[in-house]
């Protein structure tokens, strides 16, 4: 199979958005830094020396190697190595104002990371940026009122297996569907606490998509009937509008629950394909409108803690599936073991079968389990599994701390199943992993 990348993917900017649609959506050029981040970064830099107590930082540098025993039709590589430097800092400027930032610097051997000297601020590139501003925000707190403005991480939901209500949390699925990192979003978040109730309002004026696997690499599954095709990445059509959401959380006596509403766009793409010739096609991402209502709850019982989460995904434009995703899980701690087990389910109310990339739906209809054993203060062993009718995944990870700064991790993931199954289609992607991390 021959997979091409469009010229657009190779440009300095690297944005797959065609120029016309970029102008239409009124996007700022990539790498553009608005004044607020500059001000915050300068303040943080000054604060290191001037205000020691109010300044806090942490971070790590990690080198990870993934070894794939098998190749795939679109990826002949066996070994992928990546180095990540992550630095997070905050500065308490006043009792009511805190400034936050986080920066990533990456390099890898597999062209999953760009080879460009630019600071990314919007996470819209197809490859991972080499230098990325993950977070740059100001947190304002006064009494029951908290607001965070800027690039930040917003997490909703209570379940650990799958979070259908977590709509302001795009993910980076580029190098693995089974282990992904969260991406920040540019948003304004206001939280008000009143007794045992918390009200959360979020407005996100600037859309951040989840990052999907590269077409010419193993985590993009090419159906066998298209293996002879030359498939070009046609980039993405990003929605121009904003999105917003609201959540009410109540903590009661021995239970807690929340209800939420979201109106915006799915951060996971659907695709349109246009044939360029008898065996050539261009695939373009788009992000359909999404309206969601959902809720979650956690109830600690004598033997287990029960957590549940469910959401109804509505397609206001009527061009995508409408469905319910739900999770029910049990959690228990026994001595040094912690167990989580449950079921992630799906009920489709309207099926249009769009061509889409959706790991969260792909992991639905699964029995999922996790067991973690704290061997001693320095060593942990983790087992994870997801079992579907036609596909399964199991992962084991051993991690050990060495002194105050170093940690080594070794693991293996085993994926089996049919090509018709979301998990099973990656049955050639079982891997071994090794990582060394220095935290500071």
């Amino acid at each position: 199979m021959k997979v091409n990348r469009t010229a657009g993917l190779q440009t300095r900017a690297g944005t797959p958005v065609p120029a016309a649609s970029r102008a239409r959506n009124g996007q700022v050029g990539r790498g553009t830094i608005v004044p607020l981040p500059i001000v915050i970064l300068c303040l943080l830099a000054l604060s290191t020396s001037a205000f020691g107590q109010a300044f806090q930082e942490r971070g790590y540098i990690e080198n990870q190697t993934l070894i794939y025993p098998e190749t795939t039709p679109n990826d002949s590589g066996h070994v992928v190595n990546e180095t990540l430097l992550r630095w997070e800092a905050s500065f308490q400027a006043y009792s009511w104002l805190k400034l936050n930032t986080a920066l990533d610097a990456r390099f890898d051997t597999h062209q999953q990371v760009e080879r460009e000297w630019r600071l990314d601020v919007d996470d819209r590139s197809i490859q991972r940026p080499a230098f990325s501003l993950r977070r740059i925000s100001a947190t304002i707190h006064k009494g029951k009122f908290t607001a965070e403005l800027g690039r930040q991480f917003i997490r909703w939901g209570k379940a650990d297996i799958l979070n259908p209500t977590d709509r302001f949390a795009p993910k980076d699925y580029l190098s693995s569907v089974v282990q992904s990192d969260f991406l920040g979003v540019n948003a304004a978040r206001v939280t008000v606490e009143s007794g045992s109730n918390t009200y959360d309002l979020v407005w996100q004026p600037w859309f951040t998509p989840s990052r999907t696997p590269l077409i010419n690499q193993r985590w993009t599954f090419i159906p066998p009937q298209y293996l002879g095709y030359s498939i070009q990445d046609g980039g993405a059509r990003y929605p121009g509008g904003s999105q917003y959401g609201a959540r009410w959380n109540h903590v009661g006596s021995g239970y807690e629950y929340s209800l939420c509403f979201f109106d915006g766009f799915n951060n996971l793409p659907s695709f349109t394909a246009s044939l360029l010739g008898p065996a050539a096609a261009t695939v373009t991402r788009y992000y359909p409108r999404l309206r969601l209502v959902g809720g979650d709850s956690a109830v600690p019982l004598p033997w287990f803690t029960i957590k549940g989460e469910a959401a109804y995904f509505d397609s206001p434009d009527k061009n995508n599936d409408e469905f319910v995703l739900y999770v029910i899980q049990l959690e228990r701690q026994v001595k040094e073991w912690s167990f989580v087990g449950g079921y992630a389910g799906e009920g489709v109310t309207k099926s249009l079968n769009p061509f889409q990339y959706s790991p969260e739906r792909g992991f639905a209809r699964s029995f999922v389990g996790r067991a973690a054993w704290t061997i001693d203060p320095n060593r942990d062993l983790i087992f994870e599994t997801a079992v579907r009718a036609n596909g399964s995944f199991a992962r084991m990870q051993y991690t050990q701390a060495f002194g105050q700064h170093w940690r080594g991790t070794a693991g293996a993931a085993w994926i089996r199943g049919d090509m018709s199954d979301f998990i099973g289609q990656y049955n050639q992607n079982s891997y071994f992993s090794m990582a060394a991390r220095y935290s500071f």
């Binding site: 947190t139 997490r155 606490e193 600690p300 320095n378 991390r437």
Partner: protein, 243 residues
């Protein structure tokens, strides 16, 4: 005979009341509206491997009905991890943890409260504040200027009973031996008492996990009481905001 039985019953009641009164006096003398300290934990395993952790601790409220926030500051890999503990007088505490890597608070499932806390020799139950009404007490006698008191939990606990040694001169607890069905489980020593704002305060706590043969020494620095602390520093939002 009846007089003898009545006498025995009276003696037992007086003994129980005395023990309860002693513990109430201990709690009364240690009462504070808020507390802060910086803790350094040294965990020494049976193989003599040493791990050091540090946290900042902040508490508000009356004993047994308080809220506490605990934030790790070292080692680097756990920096930013935080725990919110909400104690209740009538039941086990609620606890939520914040991990920066996840970016979300998580309710801690603590069905087994004998679980070790973050790899230390403290169990989660040891960190809880339990009101005097949650125990039955019995005064066992005097030992070297200390009262030896037996306490039995009325509600579910990993411990079947404990012995506490309370100094008579200043009503401070210097030692606890905690027993499970299998026998002695933990020995907790409170040392280096100092008076801070009129409250006798241990500057060192040492826990021995008898089964594992491992020790944890917790040293308290910058201890302060009755400081101005706001309720909104002990909420799920504060857990997220300050980490």
């Amino acid at each position: 005979m009846n007089k003898f039985l009545a006498g025995l019953l009276l003696a037992a009641t007086v003994s129980a009341q005395d023990a309860r009164q002693i513990i109430q006096e201990v709690q009364k003398r240690q009462a504070s509206k808020s507390q802060r300290y910086e803790g350094t934990l040294e965990v020494r395993s049976s193989e003599n491997r040493v791990t050091t952790k540090r946290w900042n601790y902040l508490r508000i409220g009356d004993f047994g009905n308080s809220k506490a926030m605990l934030r790790f500051t070292a080692p680097p890999e756990v920096k930013g991890v935080a725990l919110l503990i909400v104690n209740h007088t009538d039941r086990a505490s609620d606890q939520w943890m914040w991990r920066p890597s996840i970016g979300r608070d998580q309710r801690i499932a603590l069905q087994d409260r004998s679980t070790r806390f973050f790899g230390t020799d403290f169990s989660f139950e040891d960190l809880e504040e339990r009101d005097v009404d949650q125990f039955d007490f019995k005064l066992l006698g005097d030992e070297n200027g200390m009262w030896k008191i037996e306490s039995k939990p009325r509600k579910s606990s990993q411990y079947t009973y404990s012995y506490q040694w309370v100094k008579k001169d200043n009503y401070t607890v210097v030692k606890i031996e905690a027993y499970t069905k299998k026998g002695l489980a933990r020995v907790i020593d409170y040392r280096d008492y100092e008076q801070i704002k009129g409250i006798w305060t241990p500057k060192t706590t040492e826990v021995l996990d008898v089964g594992r043969k491992s020790h944890t020494v917790l040293r308290y620095d910058k201890v302060d009481f009755n400081i101005p602390v706001k309720e909104d520093e002990f909420t799920l939002q504060a857990l997220r905001r300050e980490s």
